[in-house]
Amino acid sequence: MREMAGLDEGTPLFAQVAERLAAEIADGGLAEGERVPSTNELAAFYRINPATAAKGINVLADEGLLDKRRGIGMFVAAGSRATLLARRRAGFTERYVEPLLTEATRLGIGSEELIALIKECSDERRGVAV
């Protein structure tokens, strides 16, 4: 569908729903112990089939990140946020550092220069913040 609240074409929707929910938990938007949106709420929001939304929720439930409370719904499990943040940290090198190095190599930027660039950007941000 044209407007699926920003979901992309190239990956299965259930995986994208799972990823979005995980990101929301990691960022604290969904607190531990809080109820996560129901299958139908997610389906209506993303404009997707409810079975697809359910599959996305089940990915997180199977990983122990959500608890099912019979007749009420799914809730963010205790310790989920820490688990997700640790996972994100572990993927940081692969997701951000390696592509950065690939592009830097392509442009002939050496690691010394790269480190200096990062420091410069970081200082600038800090400067703005102060």
């Binding site: 569908m1 074409e9 190239g10 299965p12 929707l13 993303y46 404009r47 089939n49 409810p50 690939t102």
Partner: protein
């Protein structure tokens, strides 16, 4: 559980052509299925046979566990909304109004929800006291959709239901369909050629070409299943080596290859480092190519989940 629809060896022959040719199909209860294919592929004939409005030449058709033809017990639990739907007698009765069409429908369907019908009319901006004969094409479609949803029939068939509806009205239809399905789960089959805008609604898709089912699969499993890879020839070849390839085009030092198989994060990373461009094929693009690979194209023809 008995499937909502079960079709085996269904053939429908006309004097001059074969509309359906040995169709086998199962549609699970309370699922939304997209029935896709080109004009004249046999979608309408199939839906009309499911609705008992046409008869098979051979083969067996079961809807809600029984053959639908002349079967009151099936037909009052089923609704078919057709493209360019005609309404009973409106040619003979110039005063036949939208409200009359709704009243007639309320007698046909045991789960009819009048409140839902009026809220749908409001969403579509259609007045109940308007004469049916003066409706525009889009308004007739809106009336058909209203009846199809408000019928709350266990089996709800939509055959290209939105001729003349603009994008906003179609979005109303999709949103109300999902909301209705959530509140009152039912088996929905929607035939459409606006595939990409409806793709995310489907749990399963069935593609028909020249009377035959060429694809019957879980819709979400097809997403990202086929990708166009383009870039320098050597990089493209190295990346796609050992993977099923549908099509290959080259121009000078550049190549573009359409390959089958989900890509992992690692694959994407590798493509990026090789300087390759990855463009996933949309469902619409997949369906356009479906006749070419037909039965036996491996993983794509199997349901990837239930």
């Amino acid at each position: 559980m008995t499937p909502a629809v079960s079709v085996t060896g269904l053939t429908r022959r006309y004097p001059d052509h074969v509309a359906l040719d040995d169709v086998h199909l199962t549609i699970g209860t309370e699922t939304i299925t997209g029935l896709l294919g080109r004009n004249g592929a046999g979608k309408t004939t199939l839906l009309r046979i499911l609705a008992g409005q046409e008869f098979p030449s051979s083969g067996s058709v079961h809807v809600l566990g029984s053959p639908p033809a002349e079967n009151e017990n099936v037909l009052r639990r089923l609704v078919l909304v057709r493209e360019d739907q005609e309404y009973p007698d409106y040619q003979g009765y110039p005063d036949f109004k939208v409200s009359h069409a709704l009243r007639a429908a309320s007698f046909c369907y045991q789960n009819w929800d009048a409140g839902l019908a009026s809220s749908l009319l409001e969403d579509f901006g259609l007045r109940a006291n308007k004469a049916v004969k003066s409706l525009s094409r889009g308004q007739r479609s809106a009336l058909g959709i209203t009846i199809g949803l408000a019928a709350r029939a266990e089996v709800t068939l939509f055959d290209e239901p939105y001729a003349g509806l603009d994008a906003v009205a179609r979005q109303v239809f999709y949103d109300r369909l999902l909301a209705e399905y959530a509140d009152f789960p039912r088996t929905v089959v929607l035939s459409t050629h606006l595939i990409d805008e409806a793709a995310a609604l489907f749990e399963n898709v069935v593609v028909i070409d020249r009377g035959r089912v060429v694809l019957d699969a879980a819709a979400d499993g097809l997403r990202g299943m086929v990708t166009a890879v383009s870039g320098p020839v050597l990089a493209v070849d190295s990346f796609t080596q050992g993977r099923p390839v549908w099509e290959r085009r080259g121009l000078g030092s550049q190549a573009s290859v359409v390959m089958v198989g989900q890509l992992s994060g690692e694959d994407r990373e590798r493509a990026r480092s090789l300087g390759l461009d990855l463009a996933p094929l949309s469902l619409q693009q997949l369906v356009a190519r479906a006749p070419g690979w037909a039965v036996g194209a491996g993983s794509l023809t199997e349901r990837t989940s239930v």
